[in-house]
Amino acid sequence: MNNSKLLKIENLRMYIDTYEGVVKAVDGVDLNINHGEIVGIVGESGSGKSLTSRTILKLLPEGGKIISGKIQFKNIDLLSLKEKELRNIRGSKISFIFQNPSTFLNPVLKIGDQIAENILLHQNIKKEKIQEIIINSLLDVGLRNPKNIIKSYPHQLSGGMQQRVMIAMAISCKPDLIIADECTTALDVTTQLQILDLLKKISKKTNTAILLITHNLAVVSYLCSKVYVMHNGKTIESADSKELFNNPKENYTKSLLNSSKQKINDKDEKKLNENTLIEINNINKEFILPGSKKLLRAVKNVSLKLSEGEIFGIAGESGSGKTTVANLLMGLTELSSGKIIFLDKEIYKFMKDDRKLFRKNIQMVFQDPYGSLNPRKTIGETLSLVFNIHFDLNQNDIKKKVLDLLKMVELSPPEMFFDRHPHELSGGQQQRVAIARAISTSPKLIITDEAVASLDMSIRAEILKLLKKINFETNVTMIMISHDLSILKNMCKRIAIMYLGEIVEIGNKNEIFNNPKHDYTKKLISATLEIPS
């Protein structure tokens, strides 16, 4: 491996002029990448890691200005280049892979055309030969049947395939450096592992350096040899991957590591009573796919039994039917067959007899907290509404109750949050409000559907702690739905693994993690990346 310097960034600052003043998005970044090296930048959202990577090629956001710094790529000073000269480097010497392939690929252009564009622009190649090059790069990223893929549009491919196409596009001109910006965040765990392995393979085979930007420390530890930690636009710590995880120096790095490990005290684990709260008996749900007569069996023969006060986890990849199960439990869609018994009543009969009581007893927390709160209502109004519907109280009592709730979800001072609108709150605070809304009716069952998936690591840990606390204090039963096994491992006692609509394995978490029986469970566990401890 050639160990000479490929990219050297010194004291880079990029500020953005906005209506509300100057945002110091990148405020002092130092970075070194050698040929063929895989380097990671970690940091939470808003730390400036993505903008740093885009500043390298002057892909600045509107109002963005480079204030100071030096970017040396091979022997070229990138910041002194004109736009036209920069265009020659973009896509050919340095290429990008972005987070969400479904939005970063142009929906109305064929895959083949989008890859060909890159090649035609930077290499002097006859049109006839292009097809061959595209097919080869698609084969390189492990896509079978490249001839069909060339002719398809992005929406016809799965998320994993789209990301492979992005990678094929990125490597098509044999760049020296690939910048991968959260390139696996939107993917399922098993797909994530495949993509990371692919990047590793490409880097080794062609001696391409990779700059991996991610909030996920586990991904960094799996792939990178060197890691930079970013906070508030600065690189605050850099070290060899192993060194950083074993011996972090900065306090921020330490807290980031701790929250990522999501260790939650198991000491206060309480004894469960044996009362069955909900019993799911052999339920099935079938959908008829629109446009064809095909039947999709989203949920197949699922049976479950939950005791009062339990935290139960359902894990599976997207499309495995976990959310459909949640919707069935909430009575939002109708069962095709089977029975759900909640508080000794069949749920549809329950709903028919006393819809209010049913809704009061089952609550849900959704993935996107902002989307699930009414943007026009203050937090106080949103939460009061629940009391207006379910309890017969006067206004003063309601306000007192709401303030208590806000205190319970650790939003203080509660008076201040009472009059705020959702957009004035951070994602973590919004999710706390969503949780407050869910517990306001003192339900018997709360279903959380990927409730922490869109949150940053440190906030994620806090929310999980809060959920655990609520479970402990109110003895509410929880069903946690997640694609992330590491979350469930820390939260739940029992876990069910869902695959293609079926529960393939169910049991105590230790049993599942130490001795998985089903092949899919094994695959899922091995694909779950963990931070070395």
């Binding site: 885009r54 090629l57 892909l59 920069l86 265009r87 020659n88 480097i89 973009r90 896509g91 050919s92 290429s95 990008f96 972005f98 969400n100 939005t103 970063f104 690929l105 142009n106 929906p107 109305v108 252009l109 564009e117 890159n118 622009l121 930077h122 549009y153 929406h155 992005m166 596009m169 446009g291 064809s292």
Partner: protein
């Protein structure tokens, strides 16, 4: 409905001087106006369902033939106006979107605002005054002139077409302009534009290949929807320019209380708007691969 309006077909027929009651009654019978409104309606619907739109009172010819003859000038006018409006709308819209809130953007948008606030008939008359009356370089009205007639057939038609096209197309153009601009700005904010930039594409390629194709999709639906408005605009424009199309025909028919012709025109026009909207929807599925029919 039309029969409720003041005025009577028979009165128009016999003229100001009047006629004997017996003669009036005979005409009434011949035109089928002696029956009750309901009966007339039932008879008419029966006719329509069998493809017979009836006979014009005034011209004594089948309504379908009259409409068919006069439809072609209207189709020509519509097509040229749509072409004119869309072409300039897109070009100026894209031009404005390249630098939102800049001088060029603001000027383009003021022009657009001005154009679609102007009443069509007024703009038409102004154009006639300037180009035809004052400068005398373009014909005032009609579709063909007597003198040039056969010799320079195409040129003659085109010069006649020019002013009505500009008048009718400018409103559409102004709407398209604003629509394309908004749609382009939205498309330029999408993630795939960053991908395109990161590939090293030039701004022009990004604009025309990546953004415009996405931005045009809603514009096409929009133009389809505007066609109905344009047909009603054509009624006014055709009368201003004496363009012998459906609009002028409709106006004449209304003044003459030619019930079958009016009804026939209504049916044909609403039917064609429906069909055009349907065609646009089908077209859309070809342009946007995401909703391509299976």
């Amino acid at each position: 409905m039309i029969q409720l309006a003041p005025g009577d077909a028979v009165f128009m027929f016999v003229g100001e001087s009047g006629a004997s009651p017996e003669f009036e009654a005979e005409i009434r019978k011949r035109l089928g106006l002696d029956k009750s409104v309901l009966e007339q309606l039932i008879l008419y619907i029966k006719g329509v369902l069998t493809g017979d739109l009836g006979k014009s009172f005034v011209m004594n010819e089948s309504v379908s033939k009259i409409i068919w003859d006069r439809a072609i000038p209207t189709i020509i006018l519509m097509l040229s106006s749509i072409g004119f409006g869309t072409f300039f709308g897109i070009i100026i819209g894209v031009y404005a979107a390249t630098k939102p809130y800049s001088l060029r953007d603001n000027i383009s948008m003021i022009v657009a605002l001005f154009l679609y606030s102007l009443p069509n008939f007024w703009l038409g008359q102004m154009l006639i005054i300037v180009f035809s009356v004052n400068w005398g370089i373009l014909p005032v009205s009609g579709m063909e002139s007597m003198i040039l007639g056969e010799k320079n057939f195409m040129l003659d038609r085109l010069t006649h077409l020019l002013l009505p096209t500009i008048t009718l197309g400018s409103t559409l153009g102004a709407f398209v302009m604003r629509f394309v601009r908004a749609s382009m700005i939205e498309a330029l904010g999408q993630d795939y534009i960053i991908t395109a930039k990161s590939k090293g594409l030039s701004d022009r390629k990004i604009f025309f290949k990546h953004a415009l194709k996405n931005a045009l999709l809603p514009v096409i639906t929009y133009i389809g929807l505007r066609l109905g408005y344009m047909l009603s605009g054509a009624v006014v424009i055709e009368s201003v320019f004496g363009w012998p199309g459906l609009g002028l025909l409709m106006l004449d028919a209304l003044f003459e209380r030619d019930y079958p012709l009016i009804m026939g025109l209504f049916i044909v026009i609403s039917l064609s708007v429906t069909i055009i909207t349907f065609v646009v929807d089908i077209l859309y599925t070809y342009l946007d691969p995401r909703i391509r029919l299976k």
